[in-house]
Amino acid sequence: MTSEVVIKADKLTKRFGDFIATNEVTFEVYVGEIFGFLGANGAGKTTAMKMLCGLSKPSSGNATIAGFDIYKQTEEIKKNIGYMSQKFSLYEDLTVIENIQFFGGIYGLSDKQLKAKSNELIETLGLQNEAKKLVTSLPLGWKQKLAFSVAVIHEPKIVFLDEPTGGVDPVTRRQFWDLIYSAADRGITIFVTTHYMDEAEYCNRVSIMVDGVIRALDTPANLKRQYSATLMDEVFYELARGAKRKSD
C-alpha cells in the first residue's frame, strides 16, 4: 500500500428528481488498499459504486478512477477495473474453463496469456477436477472464489466487490479473503461492500455512508477508538441507526 491515489471522488452527487441518492461524497483510495464501503440499505452505496464504475453519470462533482475522468473516459475506466457482485458473477451454463476464457477474451488477453492464466487460476483454486464441469454444479463458495479470480483476470488497477461473501460458509469466506489479500499484495486496489462487520475489520480503511453522505472514514481501529467501541458492529450501529432513509 502506498500513498498514491487511485480513486479520487470530489463532491460526487447523484440526484433522481428531488431525491439526492449520494450527496457531495468526497474521499480518496490509495493504490493497493482494501477499502471497505459500508452503509445501511438505501444509504446510496450502490449509486456511488455505479458512478465510480462508469455505469452512471453523476449529477455534479468530479471523480477520477485510475487517473481517468468518470465523465469523459468511461471506456478507459472499464478497461482498468474489475467488478463482481453477488447477483451476477458467472455463466452457470458454461464450464469453469469456458467462463475463464470468455471473460479473459473480453478483456483482450492473448491466447497465450489466456492459457497460462487459466492454468494458473485452476491450480490456485484447486479446481483441476472441476475445470470441465458446468459452473452451476459448483458449491456457492467455489463459485464466488472463481468469480473473484475472473474479475481480476486482467490484473485491473481496481476491483469493485459488491457483497461478495453473502451466504458463504465461514471457512470459504476466509479463503475468499485470502484471495483478496493476495490481490492487494499484487497492487490491486480493493473496493468492497459487505454486511459482515467482522469483514470490515479486514479493510485498511472503511467509510460508513448514511442517508447519502459519508459519516465516517478511517481505519477500523481509529473508528472504534473514536466511538469507544470494541467491535465495528457497534460503530456501524451507532452511525446508521439514526438513518432517515428507508427506501432504496
Binding site: 452503509g39 445501511a40 440499505n41 438505501g42 444509504a43 458449491p139 456457492l140 463458495g141 457483497e163 453473502g166 451466504g167 458463504v168 460458509d169 465461514p170 471457512v171 470459504t172 476466509r174 479473503w177 489479500y181 492487494a184 499484495d185 454486511h195 459482515y196 462487520m197 467482522d198 469483514e199 470490515a200 475489520e201 479486514y202 477500523p220 481501529a221 467491535l231 465495528m232 458492529d233 456501524f236 450501529y237 446508521a240 441507526r241 438513518a243 432513509r245 428507508k246 427506501s247 432504496d248
Partner: protein, 304 residues
C-alpha cells in the same frame, strides 16, 4: 411438547444425485426460538419446505403441531406462518394492499390480529401507500413478517429473513422475534450469519445437508474441545501467513481484528514460544490472549 418434529428426513434432487438433506432429526419445543445455522446450500431451505408441506421428503417423517407433513398438509397450511427466502410480496401492490390480501387469503382481517403485528406495522404505516417493490430491504422484510403473522400462526417459519439486510435492520428484526416469542409463537428461523446464533434459544449447525450439532449456543461453545487464543500484531496479513506455516499452531483463522488460533501442545510454554517467535520476526504491538470461542469458531471446528 414439541411443535416441530423431524425424524431421519432425507431429501435428494436430480434422482438422488444431489443430497440436500441427509438424515436430519431434531425437535423444536412449543414457544421456542430455534435457529438453523448454515451457509447457502447447506439444506436449510429444503428442510423449511418439507416442514411447510411444499416438498415431500424421500424418506423419514416430520410433523408440525402433531400433524404429519405429508398426510395432514391441509391442517398444517391452516396453522403455520411462512416467510420464504425471497421476500415474497407483490411488488406492484402497496404495503396496505399486500397486508389486506394476505389477511383475506388466510381467512382473517387485519383488525382481528392487529395487536400481534402492531409493533412492526407502526414502522411501516408512514409508507402504507407505497408499492412494496419500492421499499428498502429492511422494510420489505418487516412487511413480509407482518404478512406471515397476520393469521396468528402457531408456528412461524422464517427462511433466511436477514439475508441481504443491513446490520441495523437485522438487529431490529431480532428484537421483533423476541417480542413474538413472548406471545407464545414457536419460531424456526434460518440464517447464514453466525453472529445471530446467540440470539436463539437453541440452534442446529448444519453443513452439506447434515446437522453437526444441536444445543443451546452456550452449550455448543462449552463443547469446543481446545483452548482458543486470539492474537494480533501490526501487520495482520503477514501474521496470518506466518501463523499458518508455524508448526506449533494447530489451526488459525482470521476473525476481524484478531486471528483465532489453537496450539498443537496446549500449554503455557507454547504461548511464550509463539510470542518469542513473533518478536524475532519483528512484529510490533503483539497481543495474545485466551478467549471464549464464538459460534463461528465452533462451526469452523465442526466443519473440519
Amino acid at each position: 411438547m414439541a411443535d416441530v418434529v423431524l425424524n431421519n428426513i432425507v431429501k435428494t434432487y436430480n434422482k438422488g444425485e444431489v443430497k440436500a438433506v441427509n438424515n436430519v432429526s431434531f425437535e423444536v419445543n412449543k414457544g421456542e426460538l430455534f435457529g438453523l445455522i448454515g451457509a447457502d446450500g447447506a439444506g436449510k431451505t429444503s428442510i423449511f419446505r418439507i416442514l411447510t408441506t411444499l416438498l415431500l421428503p424421500n424418506s423419514g417423517t416430520a410433523s408440525v403441531n402433531g400433524f404429519d407433513v405429508v398426510k395432514d398438509y391441509k391442517a398444517i397450511r391452516k396453522n403455520v406462518g411462512y416467510m420464504p427466502g425471497k421476500f415474497s410480496l407483490y411488488q406492484d401492490l402497496s404495503v396496505e394492499e399486500n397486508l389486506n390480501f394476505f389477511a383475506t387469503v388466510f381467512n382473517t382481517t387485519v383488525t382481528e390480529n392487529y395487536d400481534l403485528v402492531k409493533n412492526i406495522y407502526v414502522q411501516l404505516e408512514p409508507f402504507k401507500n407505497r408499492r412494496s417493490g419500492k421499499l428498502s430491504g429492511g422494510m420489505k422484510q418487516k412487511l413480509a413478517l407482518c404478512c406471515a403473522l397476520i393469521h396468528r400462526p402457531t408456528v412461524l417459519f422464517l427462511d433466511e429473513p436477514t439475508t441481504g439486510v443491513d446490520a441495523v435492520s437485522r438487529r431490529e428484526f431480532w428484537e421483533m422475534l423476541k417480542g413474538l416469542k413472548q406471545q407464545g409463537i414457536t419460531i424456526l428461523v434460518s440464517t447464514p450469519y453466525m453472529d445471530e446464533a446467540t440470539l436463539c434459544e437453541r440452534i442446529a449447525l448444519i453443513q452439506n445437508g447434515s446437522i453437526m450439532s444441536i444445543d443451546t449456543p452456550d452449550e455448543i461453545v462449552k463443547q469446543f474441545p481446545e483452548n482458543l487464543f486470539a492474537v494480533r500484531a501490526d501487520n495482520m496479513s503477514r501474521l496470518l501467513n506466518m501463523l499458518r506455516s508455524n508448526k506449533q499452531i494447530k489451526s488459525c483463522f482470521s476473525f476481524g481484528d484478531f486471528h483465532h488460533i489453537t496450539f498443537q501442545d496446549d500449554n503455557e510454554l507454547s504461548q511464550n514460544k509463539l510470542i518469542q517467535t513473533l518478536q524475532e520476526a519483528r512484529f510490533k504491538d503483539i497481543e495474545l490472549k485466551h478467549i471464549t470461542p464464538t459460534i463461528e469458531d465452533c462451526f469452523i471446528k465442526l466443519m473440519n
